[in-house]
């Protein structure tokens, strides 16, 4: 890198010039935030606080999305999910055989989590829904559950189960395998982590007083 380029990168808080290998699509949440700031009227532009993410009501100037890295998990192992999102907004996923699905969200006790499904008795059902087509995203209000996550030791996580609706599983098995059904919903299970950080160098508390 030329001296100028490395100094410019440094001023932007980057130690090296990134070299993406397989760029992923821009997550819609970031694109929306970016566009919203870009579309601010010129008179309001300087009012936008570069050191606060209004969308999440937190201080921060860097929003980073870690794309789903769970594919390498061994098939059949439970996959940790942070967000259930229909991969393509406004498109409708139906299972190839037209079966419906049931979705249940549990809060396991700490012991149950170690064994997961093996301790069904010691988990509390939080949500139950059935669907044949998944429209947009499924949103759950977890504020009640999250309240007691204040200390990490009390956060046993949540267990999400998606199963074939009622007796249709047996028919599906006969028709050629439960696995086929599950692959049809696989395409929209996604795990992504969005992290907001505040870079102290670029968000200096003591600002040069402006006139």
């Amino acid at each position: 890198l030329s001296l100028q380029e490395s100094l410019l990168l440094k001023s932007l808080g980057l130690s090296t010039k990134p070299s993406p290998k397989s760029p992923v699509p821009v997550p819609s949440v970031l694109w929306r935030i970016f566009q919203k700031r870009k579309m601010l009227p010129p008179t309001d532009k300087d009012l936008a606080d570069a050191c606060r993410v209004e969308e999440f009501h937190v201080p921060g100037n860097i929003i980073r999305v870690f794309a789903d890295q769970g594919q390498f998990l061994h098939q059949g192992q439970p996959q940790r999910l942070l967000w259930l999102q229909n991969g393509l907004h406004n498109s409708y996923h139906t299972s190839s055989q037209g079966q419906g699905f049931e979705l249940r969200l549990y809060q396991p006790s700490r012991v149950a989590l170690r064994g997961l499904a093996s301790h069904e008795g010691s988990r509390r059902l939080l949500e139950e829904r059935s669907f044949a087509q998944l429209h947009k995203s499924l949103l759950f209000n977890l504020s009640g559950v999250a309240k007691d996550w204040r200390t990490s030791s009390r956060n046993p996580g949540l267990v999400l189960e998606i199963s074939v609706r009622g007796g249709e599983g047996g028919a599906a098995l006969a028709a050629g395998g439960l696995q086929g059904l599950c692959t049809s919903i696989d395409s929209f299970l996604d795990t992504s982590l969005l992290v907001v950080t505040l870079s102290p160098e670029q968000c200096k508390a003591s600002r040069r007083r402006r006139r």
Partner: protein
Amino acid sequence: RRSSLCKPRRLYISFSDVGWENWIIAPQGYLANYCLGECPFPLTAELNSTNHAILQTMVHSLDPEGTPQPCCVPVRLSPISILYYDNNDNVVLRHYEDMVVEEGGC
């Protein structure tokens, strides 16, 4: 003569010019601008001057060799946001303060 007064001048920064187009997703570039121009005595209101600048122009008018004119500097700046890939192919949105000169002053 008016155009020589202190005010923002157009400066467009193109990220592809510095070879960053493969990791910066958006924008491709942006108008950063810069300040340039005179701060002559008497300073007019549009020059956003500080009291000190008013004083300095007065002294400059009396002793041009000894005391220079006040500086022409940015007085209102706005942030920009940049979307880019980091080294692990994650998408990052980063806001940078004071990246666009909206207004200049003495």
